[in-house]
Symmetry: C2
Subunit: 124 residues, 2 copies
DNA sequence: GCTTGACCTGGAGCGCGCTCCAGGTTGGAG
DNA sequence: CTCCAACCTGGAGCGCGCTCCAGGTCAAGC
């Protein structure tokens, strides 16, 4: 149920071992369990966090902000409002990003259509 | 109609002066005109290229690939197919990127909804 | 002609997010 | 008990895309 070796955690999360260590080093992942010998043991909870980090990373949130979010979560329930606000603000930025991407994608398609209208057989 | 000072080109393109110089230095923009004294004069054609670079940059194309595209364009009409293929390949990547962004955005919204369902007055 | 702000060059530096390395330790299989 | 693959640490290095700087030149307005 819980207790994954580093390589397994890497496989499941899609992050590299180095990235997992890095995320712990900078305080994104805190208090990762260890064996008596000092080797990491990741829990389902850790994997849940990693999934969130992947979501935030893929949507372009800077690490500093993820760090802040994680710290708030560690600080307890009274930070719920601030955490929610942080996510909402981020969501707005993501919407803008999607809009820009969409618009530029359309320009790109238009450029491609221009090439396709050129005399001569269309490539492929 | 054509012939813009660097600051004007920066204003119109939205790139910084340093970035314009950088783009020329690495061969994205080639053969930018100069005054007798050596100062750059940007043409409408240059601005057109910059608009394209912005589109490609905003959609995540690495500079090396933009360089390649620009070089192909300089090489003449016989590179049309390759240029078109390059843009099409890029468009596919952009579609993937949009799909990922959309999916992760939905996860984000779900997380926000989770916060909003929490007991207590929803923030703001 | 002088001033002054915009511009020039080559090259160093930066911020981000990892990624790699050396040198040493751990722990499960046989 | 031995082996060896997986793991540990601290710290250096990297790739990208700019950004900044020093020290000098240009050119438009007075």
């Amino acid at each position: 149920m819980s207790g994954y070796a580093p390589s397994e955690a890497a496989r499941r999360s899609g992050f590299s071992l180095d990235t997992l260590r890095y995320y712990e080093k900078i305080g994104l992942l805190a208090d990762v369990e260890r064996t008596a010998g000092g080797q990491r043991v990741f829990t389902d909870d850790d994997l849940g966090w990693l999934e969130l980090f992947r979501c935030l990373r893929d949507t372009g949130m800077p690490i500093a902000q993820m760090r802040r979010y994680a710290q708030l979560a560690r600080d307890g329930d009274h930070t719920v409002d601030e955490r929610c606000a942080l996510l909402r603000t981020h969501a707005v930025r993501v919407e803008e990003q999607m809009g820009l991407l969409q618009r530029q994608y359309e320009h790109l398609r238009e450029k491609i259509r221009y090439y396709e209208r050129l005399p001569g057989p269309p490539p492929t």
